[in-house]
């Protein structure tokens, strides 16, 4: 993977130095709260309900074991011994003290990590397929492009004070693990008729209170022209995006207001000025270097005589957690951080160090983070998967729940976040307690449940089979349920089931929904298939009837 060099590190240190001065000015009363807010968010710092939250970037989800150990050290030294892996491949700490911030960020800079632009009205962390570079059906590994684009928009002088936040994802695979079309800008790596590489561009997707699927704005931007193209999208947004209405800040509202065709025309007009500018062409030498940095650190293995161990628990875990690798002799292994009784995505410092040790031993010291709040070991020898499972099992990390309904995705919710209207994690735990029978879970199969504590939709509830959105009515917590959202094959926003349901009754409603699915399911159908066939009515009747 890409390693920060001395220049990158001194840049990070300069950024921390500047932020420390801004914090000092704020504490001395020389920088008002509104301006400091704008600056601290661009450094990943939220002032939360009980303490301060820091969001640290894990660009495109790539992490080495030295970095994971540094994240564990930060958890111990500055937090309460754990971190929360998010749905956008970042990690958050919830109990940070203001005076410690600069030292914390300096510790991270030593391992090439930072919190730059993890919040605020700027280009956020760019997310990618966690299986980039590992699967057979990929058009191209997205990570070198993610890195070049991340760099270009890092403290960009023209585009650092946008109307709203700007989230990007890049996918190079056939299946969309990134949910491209719910991003402000999604790039899909494609080949044209003559085999040249380029990007299909989708602009204006987003969840939140007005979910929108990003329309295709350009079918093919040649690889070399991507920087000038993105600059044009951002310039149109920066100049024309709504700034007067706090509920209309995101680019999706600009796209909606003008329509996709008109918006595409506006971008295209601006792009005519930049597209042939030699200074804005993608640096192909740097791209080649990055491709080398991201090339596989392993060679194919001949394991024809290898027979895997037969063990029922191991087999169950393997079915749900191990994926085919493009290289002979290797597997991709998922490590579910969602244990029964704990918050989704949470990991203790002890678990982080343990996982780092295992990644050193079994996965060339590299890991990935995922949208489903897991960690991935990208390079595990097939003849070592069983040994890895045994070690994970000893540490309670071989959760067989991954890929089942009990693996709930959730934001931190009202327990930790002052934006949230309702709790998320306790609901996730109730779901796990209700469905604790493994035989039943395997019978039900892969249903996604996602919970967001408010309309900001950090739990991505709109794109889950069963989505829960927390609301507050007369000081009581309620949940709006949506059904059959998806992103892997095509992007569909989940349909509303009906009126929202009180917190105490929401797990009953989930059980009703699952039962209707089980009663209606025909051979080979998943939840979305069933919903498409029978519609919302039978679910509605059962839940409200």
């Amino acid at each position: 993977m890409y390693q920060y060099n001395a220049d990158d590190t001194s840049f990070l240190v300069e950024r921390v130095d500047q932020f420390e001065k801004q914090l000092d000015r704020h504490l001395a009363g020389d920088l008002d709260a509104a301006k400091f807010r704008s600056l601290r968010l661009r450094n990943g710092l939220y002032m939360e309900l009980h303490a301060h939250m820091l969001r640290v970037a894990i660009p495109y989800g790539a992490l080495n074991t030295e970095q994971l150990r540094a994240l564990a050290d930060v958890a111990d030294k500055y937090d309460r011994g754990f971190g929360h892996f998010t749905t956008r491949q970042n990690i958050q700490y919830n109990w940070i003290e203001l005076p410690e911030i600069a030292n914390l960020l300096r510790d991270l800079s030593a391992v090439g990590m930072h919190a730059i632009q993890t919040s605020g009205k700027a280009m956020r962390n760019i997310t990618a397929d966690p299986f980039s570079g590992l699967t057979e059906d990929e058009v191209e590994d997205a990570r070198p492009y993610c890195e070049l684009i991340r760099r270009w928009f890092n403290i960009h002088p023209e585009f650092s004070w946008l109307p709203g936040k700007f989230k990007m994802a890049i996918n190079g695979a056939k299946l969309d693990e990134t949910a491209l079309q719910i991003h402000d800008l999604g790039l899909k790596i494609v080949r044209n008729d003559v085999g040249e590489l380029g990007f299909a561009s989708y602009v204006g997707g987003g969840l939140g209170a007005a979910p929108m699927i990003g329309p295709e704005i350009h079918p093919f931007v040649p690889v070399g022209d991507i920087i000038s193209y993105l600059e044009s999208v951002l310039r149109v947004y920066n100049l024309k995006g709504r700034r007067d209405n706090l509920k209309r800040l995101r680019i999706k509202f600009l796209v909606r207001e003008h329509g996709a065709a008109e918006f595409a025309k506006m971008v295209d007009e601006d792009w005519q000025h930049g597209k042939d500018d030699p200074e804005l062409k993608l640096n192909m030498d740097e791209l080649a270097k990055l491709k080398a940095d991201f090339s596989l650190p392993i060679e194919p293995l001949d394991l024809v005589d290898f027979k895997d161990t037969l063990d029922i628990n191991y087999s169950i875990w393997k079915t749900n957690n191990v994926r085919a690798h493009k290289l002979a002799g290797y597997s991709i292994v998922n490590i579910s951080l969602t244990q029964l009784g704990t918050a989704p995505g949470d990991a203790t410092s002890e678990q982080m160090r343990m996982i780092a040790n295992l990644a050193d031993k079994y996965s060339h010291s590299e890991l990935r983070t995922t949208k489903r709040q897991n960690l991935v070991f990208p390079y595990v020898r097939k003849d070592q998967v069983h040994a890895l499972w045994q070690e994970l099992d000893k540490s309670d990390l071989a959760s067989p729940h991954h890929g089942t309904l009990a693996h709930v995705v959730a934001c931190p919710g009202a327990d930790y976040c002052d934006l949230a209207k309702a709790v998320s994690i306790p609901i996730a735990q109730q779901v796990q307690q209700r469905f604790d029978d493994m035989d039943k879970l395997y019978d039900i199969g892969p249903i996604n449940i996602n919970i967001s504590g408010c309309e900001n939709s950090c739990g991505h509830h709109h794109i889950a089979d069963i989505g829960l959105l927390g609301l507050k009515k007369n000081e009581q917590e309620f949940y709006q349920i949506t059904l059959a959202g998806e992103t892997l094959q095509e992007t569909v926003i989940g349909r509303k089931l009906g009126r929202s349901i009180a917190g105490a009754e929401v797990v009953d409603a989930i059980e009703d929904i699952v039962n209707i699915y089980l009663e209606s399911r025909e051979e080979g159908e998943n939840f979305v298939d069933v919903f498409k066939r029978i519609g919302v009515a039978p679910f509605k009747e059962k839940v409200y009837g």
Partner: protein, 146 residues
Amino acid sequence: MVEDSEIISVVNEQGEAIELLSVGEWIADVDNNVESAKGVVVTPADDVELLQESLHKISLIALDFVSFDDGRGYSQAALIRKRWGYSGEIRGINAHLDQLQFMLRSGVNAYDLQEQYQDSNEHDYTHGFSICYQVAVNNGDMKEKF
């Protein structure tokens, strides 16, 4: 568009007071403004494309950065300087300390800080970063990596 700007003049790099017109005022009387060496004040909401044709006649452009979170001025500066090749003074007015390097890299070449920053160390913010990751209108002596 502003009808009457509150700022009616600025002092340019040469120490001369330059009278400022709003974009609307400039366009309305574009033919007569040439000889008098007037400047134009541009607010974030102004459409700078209106100035493109008569740009070479304007003696100074004052971009108003009064609102900290409104980033339109950076794109306006870049368009005026890079795309349309304006060579006169682009002065950031009502500027904020923390945004100086962003402004200067976008094509602004002079600035008036807001009063609240009077005793600040400007160099920390005009030269806060010695490395940059993108082409910009003016990267100065920053080390470039892209």
